[in-house]
Amino acid sequence: MIDFLQNTIDGVMTGASYALLALGFTLIFGVMRRLNLSYGPSIMVGAYLGTLAHLHLAAGPLGVAAVTVAGAVLAGLYVERLCFAPMAAGAGIAAMVSSFAIWMQLEQAAILVLPRHTYPFPPLASATAWLGPFLLRLDQLIMLASALVLALGVQALLYGTRFGLALRAIIGNPTAAHLVGIDVRRATVLAFALASAVGGVAGFLVLASDAQVTPMFGMWATMKGLIAMMIGGLGSIPGALVGGLLLGVVEAQSQWYLGPQLRDLAAYVLLFACLVWRPGGLFGAAPVRDLARGRSL
C-alpha cells in the first residue's frame, strides 16, 4: 500500500510535467485546429540555449529559465511562420507534415551543432523531504505547483479576457471573427507564443530535475504532451491537466508493478482505451474525427 501511494505521488509529480506539455499543445490545437509535431523540438532548442547560457555565461537557475522560455518562444514562432502561417484553412494535414519536417530539421541541427549530445542542465532544487513514510522532492513540488498555476492562468485568460474571447471566437468561426474586426493573424501568433512559453517552462522544469539535456528531448516532449492531451481531450485545459496527471500515475504504477519495459506500453494501452471509449478524450467536447474534418466545437 505504501508502495502504491508512493508510486502515485511520484506519478503525479511526473504527470505534472506531462500536464504542462499538454497545456501548450492543447492551446495550439484548440485555437488553430493544427497539430504541431515540432512543439517538443522547439522546446529542446530553448533548452539548449538555456544550457549554453549556463555553461558559457554562468547563468543561474532563473537566468537559465528565462533563456529557455525565450528560446522556446522564438523557435515556436519560427515553426509557426514556416509550417502554419502559409497553410490555408483546411490544409491541416499539410501543416502537420511540414511540422514533422521542421522537427527533423531542429533535431538534426542539435545533433550536428552540439556533438557532445548530452549537456548538463543546472538543477533547480535538489532538496527532499519525508512526509510520514513518503519521499517528496522539492523540484517536483515546484513542477506540480507550476502546472496548477499555469493551467488556472491559461483558463482565466481564455474565459475572462478579451484576448481569450477573441481566440474562442476564432475557434468557433474564423471568417466571422475576421469580419467583426479581430486581427486573426496577430491573435494566432500570440497564442502560439503563449503555448511555446508554457512549453518552455515545462522543458526547463523537466530538464532541471533530470539535470541533463539530449537531442532526444524534443521527441520525448512531443510524445508525452501529445498522449496526455489526447487522453484529456483536445483543446481542453482541465483535460490537459487531468490527462497529464493520469498518464504520469499509470506510468509510475506500471513501472513499479510491471517493470520499465512495459511502462510505455501501459501508456499506449491507456491512450487506446481512451480513444475507444471516449474518442474526444476525458474532457473533449468533440471526437477527434470531427475536429479533423474542421468542424468547430
Binding site: F163, A176, L179, V180, G181
Partner: protein, 248 residues
C-alpha cells in the same frame, strides 16, 4: 463617404459583380435590391474585404481600401451583419459584443485592447443590448437564442464596433411583421445617430419605407438607381425584379 468604382468580381467564369459604380453619401440609407444571385451580397463582401477584387476600387472617405484586410476595414468604421447568421455560439450574448467592440479612444494598447476594456466600454455594451432588446439575455450563450434574437444580436454586434458605415445583409429575413416594424424603427434611430447604412433586403415594404435611395442590380450590373418612388415606377426594374418576384 463610400465610392465603388467599376467594382468587378468573377468567380471562375461567373461575373458575380460586373463593373458596378455606386456612391453612398454620408448619413443616407441606401437600399440594394435585385433578384437572387444578382450580386448584392458579393458587393457587401467586397466592401468588407472577404475576398479580393477582380477589378475596380473600393474608396472609403477618400482613400482606396481595396487591399486592406477585413479587420482593418472594421477599425476604419465599416461593420456588417450576415445573411446567414454567424454568431459566436459558444460565447454569451454579452461576450459576442465584447469581442467585436471598438474600445473608446482607439485604445489599441495591449491591456486595454486584449485584456479588458474600461468601465465606460462595459456600460456601452449594456446600453447597446438594451437598445436591441437583448438586455435580459446578456448571459445566455448566443447559440441558444431564438432565431429572431440571433438576428438582433447580429445587428447589435455590428453596432458595437461603432461603425460609421453599417452594411445590413437581409436583416429582415425570417422575421414576422412585428419584428420588421422594430427593425425599421432601429434603422431610423441609427441614422439619426449619424450612421450611414447600406441595406440589402428582399422585403420590399421595408426597403421602400426606410431607404433614401435605392440601387437595383441584375446579373451583376446596376440597372437602375433613384428614390423609392422612382424605382417603383421604373419599367426596367419592374421587368427584372418587382414584376416577377413580388406579384403581391
Amino acid at each position: 463617404m463610400l465610392e465603388l468604382r467599376r467594382l468587378t468580381k468573377y468567380f471562375g467564369g461567373v461575373r458575380a459583380v460586373d463593373g458596378v459604380d455606386l456612391t453612398v453619401a454620408e448619413g443616407e440609407i441606401l437600399g440594394l435590391i435585385g433578384p437572387n444571385g444578382s450580386g448584392k451580397s458579393t458587393i457587401i463582401n467586397l466592401i468588407c474585404g472577404l475576398f479580393p477584387l477582380t477589378d475596380g476600387e473600393v474608396v472609403f472617405r477618400g482613400t482606396d481600401i481595396s487591399t486592406l484586410p477585413p479587420h482593418e476595414r472594421v477599425a476604419l468604421g465599416i461593420a456588417r451583419t450576415f445573411q446567414n447568421i454567424r454568431l459566436f455560439g459558444q460565447l454569451t450574448v454579452w461576450q459576442n459584443l465584447w469581442v467585436a467592440q471598438k474600445a473608446r479612444g482607439q485604445g489599441r494598447g495591449f491591456l486595454r485592447g486584449w485584456l479588458g476594456g474600461s468601465r465606460h466600454d462595459r456600460v456601452a455594451i449594456d446600453k447597446t443590448l438594451d437598445f436591441f432588446d437583448l438586455g435580459h439575455k446578456r448571459d445566455e450563450l448566443a447559440g441558444n437564442l431564438a432565431f429572431g434574437e440571433q438576428r438582433r444580436l447580429e445587428f447589435a454586434r455590428a453596432f458595437a464596433a461603432k461603425p460609421s458605415l453599417l452594411l445590413l445583409d437581409e436583416p429582415a429575413a425570417g422575421m414576422n411583421a412585428e419584428e420588421i416594424d422594430q427593425l425599421d424603427a432601429r434603422i431610423r434611430q441609427l441614422r439619426r445617430e449619424g450612421v450611414t447604412i447600406v441595406l440589402i433586403e428582399h422585403h420590399v415594404e421595408l426597403v421602400m419605407s426606410v431607404t433614401d435611395r435605392i440601387a437595383v442590380l441584375n446579373f451583376g450590373q446596376k440597372i437602375a438607381e433613384g428614390t423609392p418612388a422612382e424605382i417603383q415606377t421604373n419599367p426596367l426594374v419592374r421587368e427584372a425584379y418587382l414584376g416577377t418576384q413580388t406579384a403581391a
